[in-house]
Symmetry: C2
Subunit: 646 residues, 2 copies
Amino acid sequence: MVNETQHTCSASSSSKSDGGSSSGSESSKDSSRCSTPVLDADRHERLREKMRRRQDSGDKWFSLEFFPPRTANAAVNLISRFDRMGAGGPLFIDVTWHPAGDPGSDKETSSMIIANTAVNYCGLETILHMTCCNQSKDDITGHLQKAKRLGLKNIMALRGDPAGEEWEEEVDGFNYAVDLVKHIRNEFDDYFDICVAGYPKGHPEAESYEADLRHLKEKVFAGADFIITQLFFRSKTFLKFMKDCQAIGITCPIIPGIFPIQGYHSLRQLVKLSKLEVPQEIKDVIEPIKDNDAAIRNYGVELAVSMCRELLDSGMVHGLHFYTLNREVATTEVLKRLGIWKEDPRRPLPWAVSAHPKRRVEDVRPIFWASRPKSYIYRTQEWDDFPNGRWGNSSSPAFGELKDYYLFYLKSKSPREELLKMWGEELTGEESVFEVFTCYITGEPNKNGHKVTCMPWNDDPLATETNLLKEQLEKVNRRGILTINSQPNINGKPSTDPIVGWGPSGGYVFQKAYLEFFTSSEIVTALLKVLKKYELRVNYHIVNVKGQNITNAPDLQPNAVTWGIFPGREIIQPTVVDPVSFLSWKDEAFALWIEQWAKLYEEESPSRMIIQYIHDNYYLVNLVDNDFPLENCLWQVVDDTFELLN
Amino acid sequence: MVNETQHTCSASSSSKSDGGSSSGSESSKDSSRCSTPVLDADRHERLREKMRRRQDSGDKWFSLEFFPPRTANAAVNLISRFDRMGAGGPLFIDVTWHPAGDPGSDKETSSMIIANTAVNYCGLETILHMTCCNQSKDDITGHLQKAKRLGLKNIMALRGDPAGEEWEEEVDGFNYAVDLVKHIRNEFDDYFDICVAGYPKGHPEAESYEADLRHLKEKVFAGADFIITQLFFRSKTFLKFMKDCQAIGITCPIIPGIFPIQGYHSLRQLVKLSKLEVPQEIKDVIEPIKDNDAAIRNYGVELAVSMCRELLDSGMVHGLHFYTLNREVATTEVLKRLGIWKEDPRRPLPWAVSAHPKRRVEDVRPIFWASRPKSYIYRTQEWDDFPNGRWGNSSSPAFGELKDYYLFYLKSKSPREELLKMWGEELTGEESVFEVFTCYITGEPNKNGHKVTCMPWNDDPLATETNLLKEQLEKVNRRGILTINSQPNINGKPSTDPIVGWGPSGGYVFQKAYLEFFTSSEIVTALLKVLKKYELRVNYHIVNVKGQNITNAPDLQPNAVTWGIFPGREIIQPTVVDPVSFLSWKDEAFALWIEQWAKLYEEESPSRMIIQYIHDNYYLVNLVDNDFPLENCLWQVVDDTFELLN
């Protein structure tokens, strides 16, 4: 993905006279250098530029359309889907807009907030749909301002369905999508990338196919940057449409909208809404198997794959837009079979970068939120400026308060019943808590036969990297060192390493060993004695829920624990152990015991009291082994501690 | 030197209840964390704090007094002396003030400018003397404001000698040093550390010894931070004085002024000025050998060493102040014999840190000025803010113009005749220039038997580190790759390494191999062809005097070429190859051919035309091998280039 722009001027034979680009010392005064190391040009481009770059490089892409969910639970699921489907590398996603559903509100389920979540928390380039019909100029401007404020950069400008049959054009009102395009360009200049809809068969309400093409041209000439089409059933429909567009002077990208048939009813409903006609050959296949969902889906995938292949093979199509209907299986299958689903593209940084324009320069975070990146983004959303290069530049980061709850903030993705099966219907003592931690690490089922696939501090299974430490982690968790975060030491692995690599190729990545855990005050007492022996080598922070804090960190300085060295660039240090933000993390880490775990049980129940006891009495500890070229000494520290206790 | 403040609270047994220092999450909002990594507490302390810390740690120290020079040449010599004697680790130096010599002016030889040079260019903690007698309040305030503006933080407040015999106290005037102390505290609050003079035998004009002690107490109570004494000849004189001071309530540090006798005449003159009496036992030794300078100096050293030992052994003395009379040998000898001369104290950064308060946070510089740090400081003196952690944060550094000349700016320390001997009375062609470069590298005498100990780009002999590359450098210089800067690659050596180490102990330092040279356009043409093979591995900048610039640096990004990883800290990257400032360096590097070398010869002379030809036609090239863990490939690049040419 990384595309290094090379300012090379070949001067092989002409270098004597005028072989290089002339640039006098004046250039030192007005250089256009970025203020942050550019690890990934992608992060700084707007959508239309990304699209153009992909077209130029011949690198095929895809995008995904979703509609806003109806309930908060569905929203949690949709966000997980964003993460999973985001892993395949879509160029963007888009979120539809339904005027009846209060789409611009602050509700967790509104189009606005879902798009905000996709951009800011999932790091996805996102287009927010917006309709204009039957809405006042002020309302529309308000929505656009809000979108801008939230970091959204792309709008799909639509007319929307007129309310009722007796709809008439309003003078000076928003009657057509073109009015919205003009309004956006008038009020927001070039801030937004604007997408408009194209109808390969002509809009059902248009006087004619030709008249509809002229409308489309108007929208483009009013300022739209690209076109996404309505779904269609035959590739030749799209290719003819595209040629017709080009013939009347539409030169912007036109992206075919692909609808993999996923079920009989959804197809019927979509066809009804879009007023399209399903070709007879498709009907002939579907009708006989209409009650067999799997069969229909398989057929839909086949059909989509072959149509997409035709489109891509035409040489006229560079990207494909998928109407997912918020479902994963069919679209993912089509993309994988087309070979454009790119699992695990090179990571620009060891953590997922947010797509908010303000946060694109962000390149350092405390390690504590490694498994809870959305919580970190949420708690720092009010920051004006993101630690740009070095953590220390941000003088006094104030974290959002714990009282601000949010979809993914202190809530697990899993329902209560499932959590109880994993974490125990009934706890009998601290040991049964140790057992839960141990099962999470090992992946073995607990004594009731249930696998522990998430923990309050980690909503996902163990990271691949953590697997490197599995054996040691199992041992210490069994004995009450309840680990919630760790990383091995790395002494200069290639940046392309499949497990620990990140950043552009040709670089080297490094890590200091890190271990973070909850443990009892008895163990802390022994640990502190042992740590004296490691005073110069190991940095520690030990804190309880009341904030009693024991550390040997010099001068509240952050300790860089992940860094990378790349050709032609400054050092990047994306992860630090920061003493100041550790105290904000501590509040969250302790609260998760109660909010996610204790509250599963009745008040006053023994199980709840066990968790409450741990919350009240345990310490949160983190350890860094500074001597990254040597063998990780943190396991020795823990062994020494247990030995001292015996 | 590095002193890590540890915020450790021992919680060995009491950790359960209240073992740690309580610090709630509020502390995240008002932390007192520095905005830059503290590698060396010393850099952020004021003089009186340093003094106290040394006293507490029992670490004995010394300081050095100099007077301003009379001529610009003497100033150049004095600055070299500051560098050489600064290497021994004085806690501070001080510069005397002679009202007759226009001490507050902008002349290269004024007290003000010499003190400025010591602080800003030599990185020495400096006290500027200032007298007040016969001066207006406005003059004095003006001097103090100027001192503050230049980054001076310490003033020695003196009365100075009254002009003429008929001096009388002025009402409301500055009659005594105490008036100046009060004035400084009134006008500048606590900005300056103030030193005052103490007279172990009483001031010659005081009514009595006791009266003089009372005057001293007044000065201290008016706001002086410490006392430096007039010279004396017997340790018991000082120790009695110190006890007497303490008896009347003077508790601040009192530093004995040591005067190593260096010659008969200087002793006589000083004695006359200070109205002191030389003890008979000293006279008895000196008179018979008064014409033997070496014998007197040896005796003076003996005497000073034994008196200093008595002072230090008394347990009452922590630091010694030396009246150097701007000479080096005797004082250095005394300090070495006392064991408090600390050659090569641990370097906080790979380059010498400036002592200006504004620059103390500076922790990254372009590599180009590695051998010309004073020039770099001079050309960046107008910057408001120093690249703080990462070079990229400083958006568009504008360098000072080349037209601004200065003592050490484009001028060599060596006189013309010496330079001609080293660089050739008469050049016969480009080859004779290659020969000069080669002799500088090898340390062998040139064909006329003279060693080449400096070059226009490097006023000192080869750095120890460069010696690691000596053999390779010799080979390439012989063939017209005229090297002016280089460093080997280093893959994680201990920060305590005597050659390449820097920063606090327990860390690891790294370097990318770097090579910078002038060479002909023929070689550049071949080099560029060879570099294509190394495209991903080697970054290059190739520029001629006209500014024609050929580079493969991505997006004008700086390339970190020296960095260090330390326990409990962020990554430090003190040296970068910065494409933007390279163009400013280029102007300076090319100008040095003309200013230092060509101008040694007559206009129109063949020798001058050879240098002028090189200046006009050669390219300045720098190469970085990004693959620091592998063997340096830059020699292979050069070999390949020569092979291509053959």
